[in-house]
């Protein structure tokens, strides 16, 4: 339930239901970094508002440095916004951070795993940190490792894994607590096409479990094949939002890359 001040004023039952259906609500979010020496300001996130429905895969698409990771970092409590509000499952990001941390799974952009532990030990640790029962940890662990084909190597130390395996382990560590909200920050970066495809199928399968996924990416194909809706971000601003199909039609484009080009005059993957 969204705890916005104005919610009580909403009498229309349909509007109330629409609000209740929101897993995430972001309201005029700003994050400004100030350099104390040069007094220079960098607007990492500049007045962004959007909402994400329950069970939706929502993509934040934009070039490197657009502000995608900053938005996710604010929503999962790693950094505080300079201005604005955000709610995760109705909990305010500043006032109810403890509750939010119980409800989320976070797959960071930099694969964060203990290299001297094997896959099972890494998963077990994060299950315990979320106070998941041992039998549930084992059940989920075996299921995820099987789904991604990591079962055979699950007892090898992570330092011996390939880059793709490390990224896959990084992803399933975010799921061990069976979170209703999942943040995936560039989850397939550095994966080869085959592993990326397996990972996409895996992320798509999360829809059946009604998990809400917020995914950042700068891969057009990833956003088009995974996301129900996409928000295109550039220089910290939200420049377009909608389903991939809606955006392509609205801007008379071939794909999302062209949408971005039409709106900003430059390409998402410029310089690559």
């Amino acid at each position: 339930m969204i705890k916005t001040k104005n919610l009580n004023l909403l009498n229309n039952k349909n509007i109330q239901e629409a609000y209740n259906n929101k897993a995430i609500e972001v309201l005029n979010l700003r994050k400004i970094y100030r350099n104390k020496k040069t007094i220079e300001e960098v607007k990492a996130v500049d007045g962004i508002s959007f909402s994400v429905k329950q069970g939706e895969i929502f993509g934040l698409l934009g070039p490197n440095g657009a502000g995608k990771t900053t938005i996710i970092s604010i929503l999962c409590g790693l950094i505080s916004p300079t201005e604005g509000d955000a709610y995760v499952e109705g909990h305010h990001i500043k006032k109810d951070l403890k509750k939010i941390k119980e409800l989320i799974g976070v797959c960071p952009q930099q694969a964060a795993i203990y290299q001297y532990l094997n896959a099972k030990e890494n998963l077990e640790l994060f299950g315990k940190l979320h106070l998941v029962k041992k039998e549930d940890i084992n059940k989920r662990m075996n299921m995820f490792l099987n789904l991604l084909g990591l079962s055979e190597s699950s007892k090898r130390k992570a330092k011996h894994y390939s880059g793709g395996m490390i990224r896959q382990l990084n992803l399933i560590m975010a799921l061990i607590n069976d979170p209703p909200i999942l943040f995936l920050d560039e989850p397939t970066i550095g994966m080869d096409p085959r592993v990326r495809r397996t990972t996409w199928n895996f992320i798509n399968s999360l829809k059946q479990k009604d998990i809400t996924v917020i995914l950042t990416t700068h891969y057009i194909e990833e956003a088009e094949s995974l996301c129900d809706r996409v928000a295109i971000i550039d220089f910290g601003k939200l420049i377009a939002i909608g389903t991939p199909k809606e955006l392509v039609e609205k801007y008379h484009s071939e794909d999302l890359e062209e949408v971005f080009l039409n709106i900003t005059g430059r390409r998402i993957l410029e310089g690559f």
Partner: protein, 250 residues
């Protein structure tokens, strides 16, 4: 505070020690080598009329230096966790900073007990017999446990200053080397140097161990003074370490 989380961290800290041999060497092999070297080389050299050997004179310092070296893997581990993004990831879970730090404190205390037991055994096998009762030995253990807390503080401060784990391994010497040189009791010092050493926690650990191993009684005010000052040093270092690491350790 949830003890399941604390024990989960302690389990991985233990596994890291077992699986990263350099850390285990620093904590266990170094004191063994020190004790064996001093015992075998200086076990029969008498330095005063009471029959005290050089080895017996050095034993309290061996205990203290060994505990001091625990700051090295602690600082490395904090800096490495931050460098690899583990601290950020842990921060997105319901884990509190207190649970994380507490796990390190308990692990360090556990390691200090194992370390002291191993050194005590080696020294005993080399013929060292401390003067004093079982109470003195237990008190020595307590002093080492309290001193091991200060190594957490040194570790956190170092991890705050260091940009990565490799730099942390170098920076920790800023805290370790002066204490080893001035406060370990291994080297005879001029008065001025001894004055400086009184600003170091290792001085109070070494001083107390020397008194306890030489038959000092717990009734002696100086031993209690050592205990109070060492406890204050350790608590302040841990608190300062936590505050600095929280504010600047990102």
């Amino acid at each position: 505070m949830n003890f399941r989380r604390v024990s989960a961290f302690m389990t991985i800290q233990f596994k890291s020690l077992i699986r990263v041999p350099s850390a285990l060497c620093m904590i266990l092999l170094l004191p063994v080598v020190l004790a064996l070297t001093f015992g075998l080389l200086f076990g029969s050299i008498i330095i005063d009329e009471t029959g005290l050997t050089v080895f017996e004179f050095l034993v309290p310092g061996v205990f203290a230096i060994s505990a001091l070296y625990m700051a090295m893997p602690v600082s490395y581990s904090f800096a490495e966790d931050r460098e690899q993004g583990m601290l950020k990831r842990i921060k997105t879970t319901p884990t509190t900073a207190l649970e994380f730090i507490m796990s390190h404190i308990i692990s360090n205390i556990g390691m200090a007990i194992i370390q002291v037991a191993i050194i005590a055994l080696i020294c005993y096998l080399l013929g060292y017999r401390p003067v004093g009762s079982a109470v003195n030995i237990i008190s020595a253990f307590i002093f080492m446990i309290i001193f091991s807390l200060s190594t957490i503080g040194f570790g956190l401060i170092t991890a705050t200053l260091a940009k990565n784990a490799k730099t942390a391994a170098g920076i920790i010497w800023i805290f370790m080397l002066p204490q080893q040189m001035l406060a370990s009791g291994l080297y005879p010092l001029p008065n001025e140097a001894e004055m400086i050493s009184k600003f170091m926690p290792l001085y109070y650990a070494t001083d107390a161990l020397t008194k306890l191993f030489n038959g000092g009684s717990l009734g002696e005010l100086t031993i209690w003074w050592d205990l109070i000052v060492l406890t204050i040093f350790s608590v302040i270092l841990v608190i300062v370490g936590i505050l600095l690491f929280k504010k600047y350790g990102k």
